[in-house]
C-alpha cells in the first residue's frame, strides 16, 4: 500500500436531497468557486521529484544525436530518459499505436516529446532539459492537407502514409438528380484549429509501489483506456497500474489522448520515487490534440421551391502526424456531414490526413462541428438562391422521426426539428443596443464606437450530434452501488471509474441513487480502476451510459433490499418500493425504515450497462446503422457588427434543444451555455494560428477565448421528447449546442455585413475589407 498523496480525491457526500429532475448543486461547486478544490496540479507527496519534458522546436526533423550528459551533470537531477529507456512498447495511441512515447530518430510535429528529466526542483529539471543537446537535420514540413490527398504516397508523414481514413458516402443517383436540379449552389468553407483551452493544465503524479507497480493520479477523461495504453509501454501487467482520477480542470476532448501519464510512470519506475509532472500554459498548447482544421467543398442542387435534390461534399480534416481519434472524427464528419436534412442523393468524401501540422483529435463536437459550419452556410445560400427565408429553408428539408440520415440509418426516436425551428423563430428579439453603456457595443470599453458603423444581424444554425461511441463500439459503463447504514442513516455509496471533468456526472450519480433507492444520503467514491470500465467522458455519453449503469446497479440493490424487507415483514407484498428512507407498499403504505431492514447488512451490486449495438460505415457506400442516439440543437444569434472595423458584439443567443429528459436543469443549462460559448469562440476568435507547421500563438494572450463581455445572455427552450431506448428517456446534451451556435453567429454577421464569410474564426479584416 502506497502513501496517498495530499490532495488526492476522497469520498464526497453529495449535497442536497434532490433526485432525478431536481436542480441539485454540485458537490465540488463551492470548493471550485472559493479556490479550495484540489486539481491535479495541486497533487503533492513528500519526497516527490518533478518531471519535465524536452520537446521538439521543429515541425519535422531527423534526430541525428541526443546527448543527455550535460543534463545528467546538473546537481539535483535524478534521471534523464529517452526512447531507449521506455520499458515496454515504445508507441501508443487511441486508435492505432503509432505515437512514440518519446521520439525515435525523428520528430513529426512541433512539441513532440524527445526526452524526460526528473529533478528535485521543477526549475532544476527545466534548466537541465535545456542542457540536453540534440543534433538536428531539419526537414521541410508537410502541411498542405489537400496536397497529401492528391499525392498520399510521396507525402508520407509516417509509416501509415498520407491518408488516415477516406470515408465515402454514396446514396441514390447523382446524375439523374443533377439533371433535375433547378437551383445549384456551391461553396468552399474552412475551419481553423480550435483548442479545448481547458484551464487546468495537464498534470499528474506517479508513485512507485512496493510490488513494482505504480499508482497514477491523473486528470483524464477515461481511466481504463489510459491504462490500456500505459501498462504495455511501462512493461507492467494491467493490475500493477492503479489509476485514480485527480481533480480535472476541464477536458472537452483534450484529455482523451495521453499526455504525461507514461512519462511520469517511466521516471517514477526509474528513480523509485514519486514524480509529478505539471505542464505550464505554453507547454499545454503542445501537450494535447486540438480540433481538426477543415477544408470543405459543397454543392447542393434543389428544386426552385427549396427542396434539396442532391448534395456533393468533400471534407478534408487535418489530423497532424499521428492517428489519435482521426478515424472516428472522419466517420462523424461523413455520416453527419449534411446535417439533419432529408437529402435523397448524396456523394460525400470525407478524409482524415497526416501532416506535420499540430496533432488533432477529440474536441467537443468531434467532426460534426466542422461539417455543421459548412452545411449550415449552404442552407443559407440555398435559401437565398430560392428566395426562401433561413428558417423556412431548414424547415422544408428538416428530418423528423422516421427520416433517414446520410448513412441510411432511420431516426427511430423523436427528432422534432421543424417544431424546434418554429419555436426558435417565435422567441422575441432583443431590443436595439443601449449605446449609453460601451459594454453593449462592439469593442466594449475599448471604445471603438459610440454607435457609428454598427449594424444588426440575425442568423440561424442547426446541428445534429451522435451520442455515445459509434461504428460498432461497445463503450459500456460499470457501476458499483452499496447500501448500508452509517450513523443510523441508510447511505448509498456509488463507485464508478467515470471521469468527472466538470460536466456534473458526480451530481447526477447521486440524484439517480436517491431516486432509485429512496435515500437522502449518498456518498460518491473517487473514480479509479478498482471498479470496472466506465468508458470515456466524451461523446455526450456519461449521463446515458454511467447514468444507466448506476440506475441498473441501484435497481439490483433495491431488489435485494426489497427481498430482505419481505423476509422481515413476513407478508407477500408485491407492490413494494423505496421512498423517503422507507419501504413503502402501494396498498398498505409505509411498512419499515430502510435502515431497520438493513440492520448491519451491506447490500452491494455491480452492473454493466451496454447501449444498443451499432455497425461500422460501409467502406464504399457509407451506409449502416452506425449511431446509438442523435441529438438536435438549434440556435438563433443576434449580433451587432461594427462594419467599418470588423468587430462583433453577440447581443443574444437563443437555443432550442431536445434533451429527452431534464435530469438537472441547472447543470443542463450550464452545459448549453458553455457549449454555445465554445461555439461562439470558434465563430469569432478561437484559433491556433499555424505557419509552416509552427504554432504562432501558444498562450492565452493570443489564443483568445470568450469573456463574460463576449458571451451574451441566452434564451433557452428545452424540450423533453423521451428516447425510449435511453435511461429515463434522456438524450446526451453536452455537445449539440457547440455545433449550432457557430453557424448561427456567422450567419448573423453575414446578415449584418453582406460579406460571404466562408471561414471561421472570422477576423476583423474579413469583415471590413
Amino acid at each position: 500500500m502506497t502513501t496517498v498523496p495530499v490532495s488526492a480525491a476522497k469520498d464526497v457526500v453529495a449535497p442536497g436531497r434532490g433526485g432525478v429532475g431536481d436542480s441539485v448543486l454540485r458537490p465540488d461547486g463551492t470548493l471550485k468557486v472559493t479556490g479550495e478544490f484540489a486539481y491535479a496540479s495541486d497533487l503533492w507527496i513528500d519526497g516527490m521529484l518533478f518531471g519535465v519534458t524536452l520537446r521538439s522546436p521543429h515541425a519535422r526533423a531527423r534526430i541525428r544525436s541526443i546527448d543527455v550528459g550535460p543534463a545528467l551533470a546538473v546537481p539535483g537531477v535524478e534521471a534523464v530518459l529517452t526512447h531507449e529507456d521506455v520499458p515496454g512498447r515504445k508507441v501508443y495511441g487511441l486508435e492505432h499505436a503509432d505515437q512514440p512515447v518519446l521520439a525515435i530518430g525523428e520528430v513529426r510535429h512541433q512539441g513532440e516529446p524527445i526526452a524526460l528529466v526528473a529533478a528535485d526542483h521543477p526549475e532544476t529539471a527545466r534548466h537541465a532539459a535545456e542542457q540536453i543537446r540534440v543534433g538536428w537535420e531539419v526537414l521541410e514540413p508537410i502541411t498542405d492537407a489537400r496536397a497529401v490527398i492528391a499525392d498520399p504516397d510521396s507525402l508520407r508523414v509516417q509509416d501509415r502514409g498520407g491518408i488516415a481514413r477516406h470515408q465515402p458516402v454514396r446514396v441514390g443517383d447523382m446524375v439523374a438528380a443533377r439533371a433535375r436540379a433547378e437551383v445549384v449552389v456551391s461553396g468552399d468553407f474552412s475551419v481553423g484549429i480550435q483548442d479545448q483551452a481547458f484551464l487546468g493544465p495537464e498534470s499528474g503524479l506517479a508513485v512507485p509501489g512496493e510490488d513494482g507497480g505504480i499508482d497514477l493520479f491523473v486528470a483524464t477523461q477515461w481511466l481504463h483506456n489510459d491504462l490500456r495504453q500505459i501498462a504495455p509501454c511501462l512493461g507492467l501487467p494491467d493490475e500493477k497500474v492503479r489509476m485514480t482520477l485527480a481533480g480535472v480542470g476541464g477536458a472537452f476532448g483534450g484529455r482523451e489522448d495521453l499526455s504525461m501519464q507514461i512519462h511520469a510512470g517511466m521516471l517514477a519506475l526509474r528513480t523509485g520515487r514519486p514524480v509529478k509532472i505539471v505542464y505550464n500554459r505554453y507547454e499545454s498548447f503542445f501537450g494535447h490534440v486540438h480540433r481538426h482544421p477543415a477544408l470543405m467543398r459543397y454543392e447542393y442542387g434543389a428544386t426552385r421551391d427549396g427542396r434539396i435534390l442532391y448534395a456533393d461534399a468533400e471534407i478534408v480534416l487535418d489530423g497532424g502526424a499521428y492517428t489519435s481519434s482521426t478515424l472516428a472524427v472522419v466517420a462523424n464528419a461523413a455520416s453527419l456531414g449534411l446535417g439533419p436534412y432529408e437529402i435523397p442523393n448524396i456523394e460525400i468524401d470525407a478524409y482524415g490526413v497526416y501532416t506535420n501540422n499540430p496533432p488533432c483529435g477529440a474536441m467537443r463536437g468531434f467532426g460534426a462541428v466542422q461539417a455543421c459550419f459548412a452545411y449550415e452556410s449552404m442552407m443559407d445560400r440555398l435559401g437565398e438562391a430560392c428566395g426562401v427565408g433561413p428558417v423556412e429553408i431548414r424547415r422544408i428539408n428538416a428530418v423528423g422521426q422516421g427520416s433517414k440520415l446520410a448513412t441510411g440509418q432511420v431516426i427511430d426516436s423523436p427528432a422534432p426539428l421543424a417544431d424546434m425551428l418554429t419555436r426558435l423563430e417565435a422567441m422575441p428579439l432583443p431590443a436595439p443596443p443601449d449605446t449609453a453603456d460601451l459594454r453593449n457595443l462592439p469593442g466594449g470599453v475599448s471604445q471603438t464606437t459610440h454607435g457609428e458603423g454598427v449594424a444588426r444581424g440575425v442568423g440561424y444554425g442547426v446541428g445534429i450530434k451522435n451520442i455515445c461511441f459509434s461504428e460498432g463500439f461497445d463503450d459500456y459503463s460499470t457501476a458499483r452501488v452499496r447500501l448500508e447504514v452509517v450513523g443510523g442513516e441508510a447511505t448509498a455509496v456509488v463507485h464508478t471509474a467515470a471521469a468527472e471533468v466538470g460536466q456534473g456526472l458526480v451530481t447526477l450519480q447521486a440524484q439517480i441513487a436517491r431516486t432509485e433507492l429512496g435515500v437522502d444520503r449518498v456518498v460518491i467514491q473517487p473514480a479509479d480502476n478498482g471498479v470496472g470500465d466506465a468508458g470515456s467522458s466524451s461523446a455526450s455519453r456519461q449521463s446515458y451510459m454511467t447514468g444507466g449503469a448506476v440506475k441498473a446497479a441501484c435497481e439490483a440493490v433495491r431488489a435485494d433490499v426489497l427481498a430482505l424487507a419481505r423476509e422481515r415483514l413476513g407478508g407477500t407484498y408485491e407492490d413494494l418500493s423505496l421512498i423517503g428512507g422507507k419501504v413503502v407498499s402501494a396498498s398498505a403504505g409505509a411498512l419499515a425504515e430502510i435502515a431497520d431492514v438493513l440492520g448491519d447488512r451491506v447490500v452491494e451490486q455491480t452492473r454493466e450497462y451496454h447501449h444498443r449495438p451499432t455497425v461500422a460505415m460501409d467502406p464504399v457506400t457509407g451506409q449502416g446503422d452506425t449511431h446509438v442516439q442523435l441529438a438536435l440543437c438549434v440556435h438563433r444569434a443576434v449580433v451587432d457588427v461594427d462594419v467599418e472595423l470588423g468587430l462583433v458584439k453577440v447581443v443574444e443567443l437563443a437555443a432550442v434543444q431536445d434533451v429527452g429528459k431534464i435530469m438537472n436543469r441547472l447543470s443542463l443549462e450550464g452545459q448549453i451555455h458553455g457549449g454555445s460559448a465554445q461555439g461562439l469562440g470558434l465563430a469569432l476568435m478561437e484559433e491556433i494560428v499555424v505557419q509552416d507547421g509552427l504554432v504562432r500563438n501558444p498562450s492565452f494572450t493570443d489564443y483568445l477565448i470568450p469573456t463574460i463581455l463576449d458571451m451574451p445572455p441566452m434564451r433557452l427552450d428545452i424540450l423533453e421528447s423521451p428516447d425510449p431506448a435511453a435511461p429515463y428517456g434522456l438524450r446526451g446534451a453536452g455537445e449539440p449546442p457547440t455545433l449550432s451556435s457557430t453557424p448561427a453567429i456567422v450567419a448573423a454577421v453575414r446578415d449584418a455585413t453582406g460579406r460571404a464569410l466562408t471561414r471561421v474564426p472570422i477576423r476583423p479584416e474579413h469583415i471590413c475589407r
Partner: protein, 289 residues
C-alpha cells in the same frame, strides 16, 4: 535569481545602482508573465512593491499632476478620471479587474511595449516621465523622447522610473483600442487624441502601430491648421485627419492582425475619436457662451 526588496525610494535607487542588471517589478502583470514563459531569466528582480512613495499622486501648483509610477490602473480610474480622462479610458481597457488592481503605468513604461495601453494617451496629452538614479539624480524625459525601439526606452541602467507628469486637462481626450474580443485583450492597435482648444492644437498617440508608440505629427499639424476651431468639424477634414494618422503608422503583419487592417483601423479610430472630441469641444464652447 536574487530577489531584492527595498523598502524606500533611496534604498531602491541604491539597489539599482549596485545591481543595474536587476529587473524592476511592480505589479508583476508583465514581468511575471515573461518569467513564466521563460522569455527572461534576469539575474535579479527588484521588487518596488514596498516603496510606498511610488503609490501616491499629487496635484502641482501649476495645475499639472504628478503620479507615482506604482499607482495601479484601478486607482487611476477611480481617483484621476477627471484629471486625465484619456489615460483613465485606456486604464479601463487594461486586462481584467485583477490586472488593473496590480498593473501600473510604471510597468508599462519599463516594458516599453508598443502595445502598452498607457502610452498613446500619455503621448497625446503631453506627458513627461520623471526618472532618477542615485548617482545623477532626477531627470525629466518628455514622452516623445522616451521610446527608442521595440521594448527599449531611454532609461539608463542605473535609473528607475519615479513618476509621470501630465499637464492640466485643456480639452476633450479620448482613447480607443482595437481588440478581437470585447475585453481583456492586447491592443491590435490603439489611438488617443487630446484637444488643446485654447492653443488650437491637437495631440495624438498611436499604439501597436510601429516599433514604438508614436505621435502622428503630420495629422496634428494638418488638423491644427485646417479645422475651424470655432465651428463644426468638417467631414472632409476629419477624413483627411484619419488618413494622415493611418499614414503615420508603420505597422506589421502578425498573429494579432495585418498591417493593412491596422492602418485602416487607426484611420477609423482617429476620425471617430476626433468627432467625439470635437463634439465635446463645441458643446463646451457653446455652454460657455
Amino acid at each position: 535569481m536574487d530577489f531584492l526588496r527595498p523598502t524606500s525610494w533611496e534604498e531602491a535607487l541604491a539597489a539599482k545602482a549596485e545591481r543595474p542588471e536587476a529587473l524592476p517589478i511592480q505589479g508583476g502583470t508583465d514581468v511575471m508573465v515573461e518569467l513564466n514563459f521563460g522569455v527572461h531569466r534576469p539575474a535579479a528582480l527588484l521588487d518596488l512593491g514596498p516603496v510606498r512613495e511610488l503609490a501616491t499622486w499629487e496635484p502641482l501648483p501649476d495645475g499639472s499632476v504628478r503620479v507615482g509610477a506604482g499607482v495601479p490602473y484601478a486607482r487611476l480610474i477611480a481617483e484621476l478620471g477627471d484629471r486625465m480622462p484619456g489615460l483613465a479610458q485606456a486604464a479601463r481597457t487594461v486586462g481584467s479587474p485583477q490586472i488593473r488592481n496590480r498593473g501600473t503605468v510604471g510597468g508599462n513604461l519599463g516594458a516599453a511595449s508598443p502595445a502598452g495601453d498607457a502610452h498613446p494617451p500619455l503621448l497625446a496629452a503631453g506627458a513627461a516621465y520623471e526618472v532618477e538614479s542615485a548617482a545623477q539624480g532626477v531627470r525629466s524625459i518628455p514622452a516623445t523622447e522616451f521610446y527608442l525601439g521595440v521594448k527599449r526606452n531611454a532609461l539608463r541602467p542605473d535609473e528607475l522610473i519615479r513618476a509621470f507628469r501630465l499637464p492640466p486637462v485643456a480639452g476633450p481626450q479620448y482613447f480607443s483600442k482595437i481588440g478581437t474580443r470585447n475585453a481583456m485583450v492586447i491592443a491590435v492597435c490603439s489611438f488617443s487624441i487630446a484637444l488643446f482648444p485654447s492653443e488650437r492644437r491637437v495631440g495624438t498617440g498611436l499604439g501597436s502601430a510601429a516599433p514604438t508608440p508614436l505621435r502622428a505629427y503630420a495629422a496634428e499639424e494638418f488638423l491644427a491648421d485646417a479645422a475651424d476651431w470655432d465651428g463644426d468639424l468638417d467631414e472632409a477634414v476629419a477624413g483627411r485627419f484619419g488618413e494622415l494618422v493611418g499614414a503615420a503608422a508603420s505597422p506589421i503583419d502578425d498573429v494579432r492582425g495585418t498591417a493593412e487592417y491596422r492602418r485602416h483601423a487607426l484611420g477609423v479610430m482617429a476620425r471617430r475619436t476626433l468627432a467625439w472630441a470635437w463634439n465635446d469641444h463645441r458643446k463646451g464652447a457653446l455652454e460657455c457662451a
